[in-house]
């Protein structure tokens, strides 16, 4: 008997089980908005700085040009009027001995009119007019141009800020509308299940790429659906087709028993054959059962008492096993499910516990709060507990198990939304199978 490990038999269809390669996921629309915001902030800062530098340069140029032309005017006036003093502190001329080059500086001058110190741009230099050196100083208030500069930059920034806000919301609502069919179809894809016979229903889109995506999704899902159906049908067909040959084999063995001319050895072989046919039949019945659950053929749901069902199952077992089974019902559990499936569920759990029980220790069944535990003695924990509910997975080397019992347990639990689990209690060396019913 081979131990099929490393082989998850059920395809992962639950998206939450798919490994996340990158845990930092951003929503599409948020990502688009974020990109837009960052770009606009960068553009705003860069263009603000550029505008500031350029305007400042222009304004400074303007002031300097004005200073030079004012100085020129003073010089021309000095030619006609050598005693000119000028208009302090804006234009001044004084006689001097030393000749100086033109110098441009910023200077602070007290303005008695406004009663405060103001920043001025100053151009000063000497000039020989009619044989006399004059020092000519002209000044212009810088404050004015600074005010103009900040007014220009602020106006620009507020206009561009408003424009960006407007664009941001426009862009956002536009994006939402644009991606709408994508999001609708994504939701539909999420709620799509293989087991339903209905094809995937996607919204039409006038966007070529979305339309292509839809077509590909439809093709893919209908292919998967068809394959799934075929596989299911195949299992069912094979199981049913096997019944008649099995019946013939079984019948022939019995007619042989009935003839007087077989010996003890032949009988042994024939009854061992009978035993193997029994196993095939059992395998068949379980496969058919799995298919039936898949096909929703158990619809006789009623409110049943789990305690009562377990008690009946345990009573049945006392007729066919020497192993003692102790039922400890601390609480009452009821569940809405098919009665036949409920007994199958517990019969399989109990069979598993009896088969893999260690020594002659009793099996205990505990009903507590919203769960049932079936506990049997063991020697070691399972080596691959994650596969224990998989089809045809066998942990033990026992030749007589079909490897389907626990997968039937899982299937029934899945069908009704119960939670099956397994753990090994190290200190007491016990295998614990637990079914959690919804509260």
């Amino acid at each position: 008997m081979q131990n099929i490990s490393k082989r998850p038999t059920e395809v992962v269809i639950n998206s939450s089980q798919i490994k996340n390669s990158n845990p930092n996921k951003t929503k599409l629309l948020r990502k688009a908005s974020k990109t837009f915001l960052i770009t606009s902030i960068v553009i705003m800062i860069l263009s603000g700085i550029a505008l500031y530098i350029y305007t400042r340069y222009l304004l400074q140029n303007e002031i300097e040009e004005e200073l030079y032309s004012n100085k020129d005017r003073v010089e021309r006036l000095l030619k006609n009027n050598p005693d000119l003093v000028g208009i302090p502190p804006i234009m001044m001329a004084e006689k001097t001995e030393i000749s100086e080059e033109n110098v441009l500086i910023d200077t602070l001058i007290f303005d008695p009119l406004q009663d405060e110190v103001e920043l001025f741009r100053q151009l000063s230099g000497t000039r020989n007019i009619n044989g006399q050196e004059y020092k000519i100083t002209v000044r212009a208030m810088v404050i004015e141009s600074e005010d103009i500069l900040s007014a220009i930059v602020l106006t620009f920034l507020s206009i561009i800020f408003l424009a960006f806000i407007f664009l941001f919301y426009l862009n956002k609502s536009r994006n939402e509308k644009l991606w709408q069919p994508f999001f609708v179809n994504l939701e539909r894809l999420k709620s799509f299940t293989l087991k339903s016979d209905k094809p995937l229903d996607l919204n039409d889109s006038d966007i070529v790429e979305f339309d292509e995506l839809n077509k590909q999704m439809l093709a893919l899902t209908s292919k998967v659906q068809a394959d799934y159906r075929n596989l299911k049908q195949f299992t069912e067909d094979v199981s049913h087709e096997m019944q008649t040959p099995l019946a013939i084999m079984q019948a022939k063995i019995e007619t042989l028993f009935d003839q007087q001319n077989i010996n003890e050895k032949q009988y042994e072989q024939l009854s061992s054959l009978q035993f193997d046919i029994q196993r095939l039949k059992q395998l068949n019945n379980r496969l058919i059962l799995l298919a039936k659950i898949d096909n929703n053929q158990f619809t006789a749901d009623e409110n049943i008492s789990i305690n009562e069902t377990l008690k009946q199952s345990i009573d049945n077992f006392t007729e066919i096993t020497q192993t003692r089974i102790a039922l400890n019902g601390k609480d009452e559990i009821t569940a809405i499910m098919d009665k036949a499936l409920a007994s199958i569920l517990f019969n399989n759990l109990l069979t598993n516990a009896i088969k893999h029980n260690f020594g002659n220790q009793p099996i205990s069944v505990v009903i507590e709060k919203n769960h049932v535990q079936v506990i049997n003695a063991g020697t070691d924990g399972l080596s691959n507990p994650e596969y224990i509910f998989d089809r045809f997975y066998k942990e033990s080397k026992k030749p007589d198990s079909t490897g389907l019992g626990l997968s039937i347990v899982k299937k029934i639990c899945d069908f009704y939304g119960f939670l099956p689990s397994y753990r090994f209690h190290e200190s007491s060396k016990k295998h614990i199978f637990q079914i959690e019913f919804d509260t």
Partner: protein
């Protein structure tokens, strides 16, 4: 008794016929829908064993026909399909019992006997074997007129033995008769020993030693 076996699988049909031909029974066979339909119209049978999936038609249609003609024969349906719907449909149409492939011939035999008991003898619900008497209504057993206390399984076992008297019954056959689908739960049939031994003790105490071991591990109920 006269049986008709309507089963399209020749091998199975022949096995059933051979098995049932003991005890001075007459077994006729039909391999398809038309043959079965024809035979049912021409002759009278006590029991009809009807496969639902006959190659050329449905056994259920034959059953409908049969009930329309108001023939007084017991009908046992055989099907490869264990679905409950099929079973209910068959029983609704008036079949007396239903058995799913693969089945044990001894099981089929005991079902036939049960149908015959219910149908033919009306109020008489007793079965006699030598000094043993079973009351199938009260489900009680008597040896030489003295009631013996049997558990439910022991009674079923005794009835199964008597209806299949003289035949070799293996543990697999007995287990499936007594526990039906539940016999799948455990894969060895050692638990049967307990029940057979208890029954044997109770019968032997009253002097009825009919349960014999056959071929080492099988059983046979037979009058010496």
């Amino acid at each position: 008794m006269k049986y008709l076996i309507a089963e399209d699988e020749k091998e199975l049909q022949q096995s059933i016929a051979t098995y049932l031909s003991h005890e001075a029974n007459v077994c006729e066979t039909a391999s398809d829908y038309h043959e079965a339909s024809e035979k049912l119209e021409l002759y009278e049978y006590d029991i009809v064993i009807l496969d639902i999936n006959l190659v050329t038609g449905s056994g259920l249609d034959l059953l409908k026909k049969l009930k329309k003609q108001q023939k007084k024969c017991g009908v046992i349906i055989i099907s490869a399909n264990s679905s409950l719907d099929n079973k209910l449909e068959g029983l609704d149409l008036g079949a007396d019992d239903y058995i799913t492939k693969p089945f044990h011939l001894a099981e089929l035999n005991s079902r036939i006997k049960a149908v015959l008991r219910r149908g033919q003898f009306g109020g008489d619900n007793t079965i006699n074997f030598q000094e043993i008497k079973l009351d199938t209504m009260a489900r009680s057993a008597y040896v030489n007129g003295k009631a013996i206390t049997l558990t439910r399984k022991e009674y079923d076992l005794l009835l199964f033995f008597i209806t299949n008297q003289g035949r070799v019954l293996s543990k697999a056959i007995i287990a499936e008769h007594l526990w039906g689908d539940d016999s799948d739960l455990l894969d060895n049939f050692d638990f049967i020993y307990v029940h057979i031994n208890n029954l044997r003790k109770k019968l032997t105490k009253e002097g009825a030693k009919y349960i014999q071991t056959a071929y080492g591990s099988g059983y046979k109920f037979i009058a010496d």
